[in-house]
Amino acid sequence: MTDSPRTDSPGPNAPGARSPERRSLLIEEAALDDWLRDGMCVALGGLATACHAMIAVRHMVRRGLRDLTVVGSAVGGLDVDLLVGAGCVKKVICPYVGAEALASIGPFYRAAAERGLIEVWECDEGQYYAGLQAAGQMLPFMPTRGGVGTSYPEVNPDLRLFTDPVNGETLVAVPAIEPDVALLHAAQADVYGNVQFVGTGYADRLLWRAAHRTLVQVEKVVSNEEIRRSPERTALLAHGVLRAPYGAHPFSSPGFYLEDRAHIGELVEAGRAFARRGDRDPFERYLDRYVRKPADHVAYLEAVGLRRLLALGEY
């Protein structure tokens, strides 16, 4: 994760090929295979119980990807837990994995971490964001004060105490966190990758800045003219756009739907059955029903049921 900065270009329209018109960045769900590979460092956007890129997450589980380094959001959700439960994850980089009141800690994550099955890159949010800042700024590290006097430099040897060259203070040096790809979920984008959120977009912009490439699921694909109507809302420029109505389900999508607590409860109970009793059956049933059997996102939504989806009311 501390690769030196790259000078090759994975830009939205990698130079070279000529095209008579502006290129569309819209991808089909099946093309996710071109984005995701075993062993990658994958950043997952959103926060806690909101706005995780669940089409991409379920795709990784469906394909049985392995050895992923997952950069969860600063308050990582059960998107991370699902990937850990499915055995896709080697290492987790984020300060928290859970769903607050719905699950104070992700059950698969806790079990795997306690058993040493995954590596946890221990950090708090300040350190986590410092590492992403370093990557976005093409710097090898970023200083931060949070962590001085704590156990963090012991439990995470990547966090090094150093003496600042200006005032001589002791600070923590956080190495760059550089995801290969950031997987985000947003309100809308045009086919050229102009992404707009409803609300703050959490730290998705920083994940975009830090990552090599960014794929954004959107509730709606809108016209370029619609984007130009409110350019101040454009938060980032994606490298790929995936049409994804209800694509954050079972998590919430600001302005569109609230979290599906019943579905999240189903997932949490499956995790707890495994973590507490070693019983993996409920999770396997969950995976069969919601991940393996549905061939694509719309089939997943059908498995969830339209009645349920439409009940995840707006305000």
Partner: protein
């Protein structure tokens, strides 16, 4: 969302949680920045009570928005950090990464830190229990932003829901948030931490502070019906105890009315 149960009567005696909320509220000053956290009803109620009772110019941070609720009749309870319905009150949005990174904008902020373990100097642990980080006996929820925030904010409060020797330990297995480090009046300055450090540690039994010269934990007040000996027995290290330990003052009728009518009509503090 709002509970269907009727709001508690105003003349019912205060619950311990209401008492704790009122204690916290009185310690917060007008103009300060407060975080209305999720999943911590007492902390939420304390912050909002301060705002409504004596803090009309407080900056109220709720679910990635900043607002002022001084004239909002009844506070809706948002259980989840990302509940975007709270944006209906927003004067501004704030970005999760910016709020943690740009600490100077939070010089007036007060903050709350939970813990699996707390030591005699108010250092605390959310990482987990055990000796080897790679094989924790119990993985904690993690520090979230408490490490960085507690290093910088004006002051913070330790808040734990269990007062026992499991929580109050001579030495934390891991320290995720610095309180008064190894002790001494200038303990934090020596580490270069600009924030004011922990002022109080609030539990269901008592309130503790930190003695000024040693920065060791000291009993500040006991909640009604709790004895000093009980607190001592349930604290896993020697607590400094002054000759006279007052009882944590009860909320006034005005405070109770605000709590029960506007802040917590759902009655979360009475469960």
């Amino acid at each position: 969302m709002a509970s269907a149960s009727a709001p508690p009567a105003l003349d019912a005696p205060p619950s311990t949680k209401e008492l704790m909320a009122a204690f916290l509220a009185r310690d917060m000053a007008d103009g300060e920045e407060i975080f209305v956290g999720t999943n911590l009803p007492v902390v939420r109620a304390g912050a909002l009570l301060a705002h409504l009772h004596h803090g009309p110019s407080m900056r109220v941070m709720v679910a990635h928005t900043r607002t002022n609720l001084h004239h909002t009749p009844v506070m809706e309870y948002f259980e989840l950090l990302t509940d975007w319905r709270a944006a209906r009150w927003a004067e501004a949005y704030f970005n999760d990464s910016e709020i943690v990174t740009y600490q100077k904008s939070r010089r007036d902020s007060v903050f709350f830190v939970g813990a699996l373990q707390v030591d005699p100097f108010g250092n605390s642990n959310l990482i987990g229990l055990g000796t080897d980080q790679r094989r924790l006996a119990l993985r904690g929820p993690g520090a979230i932003a408490t490490t960085t925030n507690a290093a910088h904010v004006r002051r913070f409060y330790l808040f734990v829901n269990e007062h026992s020797p499991r929580v109050f330990v001579p030495r934390c297995d891991f320290v995720s948030t610095v309180g008064w480090a190894q002790g001494g009046a200038d303990a934090r300055r020596r580490l270069g931490l600009p924030g004011g450090g922990p002022r109080y540690c609030v539990t269901p039994l008592a309130v503790m502070d930190f003695e000024e010269s040693s920065r060791r934990m000291r009993l500040h007040s006991v909640h009604p019906g709790v004895t000093v000996d009980e607190v001592r027995a349930r604290t896993g290290f020697p607590l400094l105890v002054p000759d006279h330990v007052p009882v944590t003052p009860a909320p006034t009728a005005e405070e109770l009315a605000i709590l029960r009518r506007r802040v917590d009509p759902q009655g979360l503090l009475r469960r």
